[in-house]
Symmetry: C2
Subunit: 379 residues, 2 copies
């Protein structure tokens, strides 16, 4: 198997699973129970939360543990009630949540980078939240969050000067980025940050929201009052322990991964160049998660390509799994200005821990072969 869809899901690493195992059947206690074994579990849970927080330059009380990135993003939006701005290339979790508010989208350029002028233009005094993902989940484009934060800071100053009391927050969804970007909430200047375990070799079903001091959220799940009353429900201890291990490992191997995936990416781009249809490389050359290689072969039906490659046990996708499964045309590829034909011919390739250089070579060879066959068929 050559798995080239790490952006969609990653396997739980051995180290992560080993760290989780004792918490299923031995240290299974409810962290809120009164006796010492339960208090020990509570202590380990808090320690894991601290590790997760530390990995993004935050402290444990700033984190709300959730059941994943989607819930974290939904929770982030409860900070406000009126107008929000979201990047037009955001993940569905942001876009669908935004629809519950008065919302506008911010444009991107043809590489997927935010149009800062469009942000400035739309950032009127009614806007309460701006949501821009740290890295796009289809083409890997990395956004200049710190720069966006500066624009927001200036607008806040402006409001202060003019006696306008409307708050303004910056949220960023960093789900795709934890493996390849050294994240620090202060340096990014975000008020709210969504992070996720399932894309960094941690377990599914757990994520977290970083919440800066002074940002008031409304719970979306009420009950026993866990997570400082912001997210009720018995703590999912094994998942949080696993998340902590995964994020520490991600941090540790950040530079090594960046280097490795840059090599993979370069190799892929070099080898694929002489395919029968000249590939268009999508996204931003410079500001890109190095494990992403999104590429379009105009005139090819990428879905057919995927099924052909699947026979060779090569797994990749056309875009975000949740959108792709509904047969929707990618809003991201549309936003960066691709034609329908270019969108239909697009593949998202995302490297990860399961790949070797040899894999990349085989995959390119098979992709080229599949394209050749498709062209033959069309004749």
């Amino acid at each position: 198997m050559i798995y080239l869809d790490h952006a969609s899901a990653t396997p739980v690493s051995k180290k992560v699973l080993d760290s989780m195992l004792p918490f299923f059947s031995d240290e299974f206690f409810n962290p809120s129970a009164p006796y010492i074994s339960a208090k020990k579990v509570q202590g380990l849970y808090e320690e894991a939360k601290s590790k997760i927080a530390h990995a993004i330059g935050a402290k444990s009380p700033d984190l709300v543990i959730t059941s994943g990135a989607t819930e974290a993003t939904n929770l982030a939006f409860t900070a406000v009630s009126k107008k929000v701005l979201v990047l037009e290339t955001e993940h569905q979790s942001v876009l669908e949540t935004a629809k519950n508010y008065d919302f506008e989208t911010i444009k991107v350029d043809h590489t997927g980078l935010i149009d800062l002028d469009d942000l400035r233009k739309k950032l009127d005094e009614n806007v309460e939240l701006v949501s821009v993902s740290l890295a796009n989940n289809e083409i890997g484009t990395i956004q200049p969050i710190a720069e966006i934060s500066e624009i927001i800071r200036a607008e806040r100053q402006n409001r202060l000067k003019n006696g306008i009391k409307t708050p303004l927050y910056l949220h960023s969804d960093a789900s795709q980025a934890l493996n390849l970007i050294d994240i620090n909430v202060a340096r990014l200047g975000v008020d709210l940050l969504t992070i996720n375990s399932a894309k960094i070799y941690g377990p599914k079903g757990v994520g977290a929201l970083y919440v800066a001091h002074g940002v008031k959220l409304k719970p979306i799940v009420y009950g026993g009052g866990q997570e400082n009353g912001l997210r009720s429900g018995t703590e999912n201890v094994p998942a949080v322990i696993g998340f902590a291990t995964a994020i520490e490992e991600a941090k540790k191997h950040l530079n090594g991964n960046k280097k490795l995936y840059t090599e993979f990416s370069n190799l892929f781009q070099k080898e694929i160049k002489d395919a029968e249809i000249e590939p268009i490389f999508l996204g931003n050359k410079k500001h890109r998660l190095m494990n992403f290689c999104s590429v379009s072969f105009p005139g090819i039906d990428a879905e057919r390509l995927i099924y052909k490659l699947e026979d060779k046990e090569i797994y990749l996708s056309t875009g975000a799994a949740c959108a792709a499964s509904k047969g929707k045309k990618s809003h991201v590829l549309k936003a960066i200005g691709l034609s329908d034909e270019e969108i239909a011919g697009s593949l998202r390739i995302s490297f990860g821990a399961l790949n070797s250089k040899e894999d990349i070579k085989i995959a390119v060879k098979e992709i080229k072969q599949a394209i050749k066959e498709e062209i033959e068929r069309q004749k």
Copy 2:
């Protein structure tokens, strides 16, 4: 260790964990991805959902998988927007959610059983939802859900006759009951039912809401549109697989468990009777989860007792873990008419898979000894 707090948390059984393990690192694919390995995972996920549904007499499309019972209950309440009635002894997940609505509480008698006359009285034509747990989480009292359902059906008929269009639904939280009650949604006559994995030897962080045909919910988490658009977020495959195994096992061992825990319960009650303080057995003698033994020793500080017993590696609690951890007085024990002194002296003992008859005997002996020492100390 003698663990007598199965109502608070249960260890993941070996069978459950074994069923989950392949889905962490091998069958880790995103169920929404387009290639065959992912589709296989999606198939197994759907199969697991069917098993869970089947165990409560429902079908897979009637279930919404959530991150646990608390979220399921919160989701259930989105069926309505105005007036709700909840039993005064409900879990915090019901009570705190109800506070977001115009709500009233229904009284219970001194055994924790619902006062049906009070329900009839309060069931005016504005009520849209009635929420009554199948079994109480502190004293194990089992409610006559089918009878409640009849009352609700009659009120619906009444509304129909009078041209009143306000809908009326019955929700029940069955989190504590799956191990000991053979649940069938049609027989119960519920429109919405909360179930949970973590209390039946399944993994934490997963639950489900049964939703009868015609009941329209509003999502509380928006995004990729999983779970028929009602609960977005990448499916937590290993957890759902584990939940399915756990619920099938629970069903299989239902009668055996009932018999075993009745023996434990009888043994406990017989042996504890001649403690230095005469115990008051809480809850309903007949309509009770047989693994619950809640008991009060008036004049004793139950919290001190718990710490004393912890030294002997006997683990039990005063009540619901999430409430107990906040030092709140139990609203359940208050509702059944216990005095402050009786509440302060109350223990919740809940048997389970980790117990043997010998455990019960040792535990009783140690509880009696601890009570004796407490009385000595007070002199």
